[in-house]
């Protein structure tokens, strides 16, 4: 199965990359883009075929390695 993990900075943490992109877009004339936040995206190929198992495994991996709880949160999707 494939699990997808999205890691983003917590809302309270300033995101210099997202901010820079938003500024760049504004200077390019994209006023319609109010804000940008940048995060990381992981696709995990998992050996299991059970969605629940996959989700649990992905969460464990995210807790342990993929996200830093001091600054980041994550979300998981399984398909």
């Amino acid at each position: 199965m494939r699990a997808r993990v999205f890691v983003t900075l917590k809302p309270s943490v300033f995101d210099p990359q997202g901010r820079t992109i938003a500024d760049a877009l504004q200077s390019l004339g994209y006023d319609g883009v109010a804000d940008v936040r940048q995060g990381k995206y992981f696709e995990l190929d998992l050996a299991t075929t059970e969605a629940a198992r996959a989700k649990a495994l992905a969460a464990e991996v995210a807790d342990k390695l993929l996200a830093n709880p001091v600054i980041e949160t994550y979300r998981i999707e399984v398909d």
Binding site: L9, V13, F14, P16, L65, N68, V70, I71
Partner: protein, 245 residues
């Protein structure tokens, strides 16, 4: 006394720290391979700069799982002095030995240059030889040195006087223009509550010899040498400065 310098795969300032300890300050020094599970009797452990495990995911994220980190933690728990420089600082944060995290530099670019640092605290084994308020000129070289911690944590750091160095202008005044990476509170270095574990983004080992254009980094090494020496001569117990073995 003996310096232990950890080598993670991807460390690249290991030789520099070793050279400073051994050749510049005439101390014993030994490399500690990341797969080791002990610190080989080191009196002080340095986690050097570099890109441990490539740092592709997050700086320091993978290094904290290295077997040596168990030994470093145990050493620190016994009161042993640990210094994390640059990537070493990032690893200490990821390992939870120090609070907070690193974000990308505010300018989003890697930044290698000399910076000015104000010594905030002299009651750590790595700043004992400095004067409070003294301004040091030492190089940095990093892309993720933008120190961040939640407000409560920062308050606690300040209250406990755990901020050791701050980025300032040449006169020692805090000024956004002289904060190279956007760190909260212009924080360049912090210690743990017990004050024996210190992380710093600047590279003192790059400023120990006149030929390299500055010697302000010597203070960091002189501090630890002096601290360990007086600990030895007073035969102090591990509560102040731990002996590893």
């Amino acid at each position: 006394m003996k310096f232990g310098v950890v080598i993670f795969p991807g460390s690249n300032c290991d030789e520099d720290a070793y050279h400073a300890a051994k050749d510049v300050f005439g101390q014993d020094a030994e490399y500690l391979w990341h797969k080791n599970t002990d610190v080989k009797g080191a009196d002080v452990v340095i986690l050097p700069g570099g890109f441990a495990h490539g740092d592709y995911l997050r700086t320091g994220a993978m290094a904290r799982f290295s077997p040596i980190m168990g030994a470093v933690r145990a050493f620190a728990d016994r009161g042993g002095p640990v210094l994390g420089i640059c990537n070493g600082f990032q690893i200490l944060l990821e390992a939870g030995l120090l609070p907070g995290a690193m974000l990308r530099n505010k300018g989003l670019k890697y930044c290698c240059q000399h910076v000015y640092l104000r010594v905030e605290r002299t009651d750590t084994p790595f700043t004992a030889a400095a004067r409070a308020g003294q301004v040091l000129r030492i190089p940095i070289g990093h892309g993720e040195g933008n120190y961040f911690a939640p407000p409560e944590t920062v308050e606690k750091l300040e209250a406990n006087r755990q901020v050791i160095l701050r980025y300032t202008d040449p006169q020692g005044q805090i000024n956004d223009e002289w904060n190279p990476n956007g760190s909260v509170g212009a924080i360049a270095s912090i210690c743990n509550e017990r004050r024996n574990v210190v992380g710093m983004m600047p590279h003192p080992e790059r400023a120990c010899e006149p030929l390299l254009g500055g010697v302000d980094g010597r203070l960091i090494f002189e501090s630890i040498v002096q601290t360990l020496r007086s600990a030895e001569s007073l035969a102090l117990q591990p509560s102040v400065v731990g002996r590893a073995s």
